[in-house]
Symmetry: C2
Subunit: 143 residues, 2 copies
């Protein structure tokens, strides 16, 4: 059975919820190959004291390790919030073919900074509200 984008984004949301539970900015990601999740990650910047420990980065490292390959050409990355410049660069470096974003991030999202003519298939809006509400709730609590 072909699983839907909503199914995979829901798994990314579960990762984001895990981040939320650990008092991290709630962003989650999963990487899919052949209709199967091969790597996942949630933001762990605070816990690891590491500005590179974004959900996407951890998911890419996990997936490359799983496939024993530095390239993830045939893979899709699902992430709840639009990636930052660092994560976009990592997605390009890993040659991930398809990026599916839950909710756009007009301020810190990569598209605010990167001019790139290369073909990477980007879509957004899958379970957008769920991702957005999780972020809003997190930052409202912080205030």
């Amino acid at each position: 059975m072909e699983l839907t984008p909503e199914y995979f984004m829901k798994q990314a949301l579960r990762q984001a919820e895990q981040a939320f539970a650990e008092d991290e900015v709630p962003i989650g990601a999963v990487i899919v190959a052949n209709n199967q999740i091969i790597g996942k990650g949630y933001n762990q910047v605070e816990k690891l004291n590491d500005p590179t420990a974004h959900a996407e980065m951890l998911a890419i490292t996990a997936s490359s390790s799983y496939l024993s390959s530095k390239y993830l050409n045939e893979c899709e990355l699902y992430v709840t919030i639009e990636p930052c410049v660092m994560c976009y660069g990592a997605i390009k470096n890993a040659r991930i073919g398809k990026l599916i974003i839950g909710c756009l991030e007009p301020k810190h999202g990569f598209s605010n900074f990167v001019q790139d003519s290369d073909k990477i298939d980007v879509s957004h809006g899958v379970l957008k509200e769920e991702s957005k509400i999780l972020m809003q709730t997190f930052f409202e609590r912080k205030r």
Copy 2:
């Protein structure tokens, strides 16, 4: 005694030479705080099968761990070759104040892709030839 930019770039070059010795694209980086190296890294993409394992990323992770801080505001990053988009994003995320590049990389370097009005102090040309020759020698051997 105040150590010179050439001194620190030489240490980054030693990291790059280590990458070369391990058959990795020879790029190295060191991070300096208060005239002292607090983290270093060399490219380990092949060995780790990890597209995120660039010299700068490993140096940032090491330095954040050393300082127990996700921000490296007062730090300088020395890198032998112009960072890619991913590494540039990481440098921004870590709030590194100063970036010193050995040799520019017109094709894959971040400045070819990123439009960013934020102030990050970037300079280049320190031991440029040494960094360039190391890269050229590596790729000539690969052919």
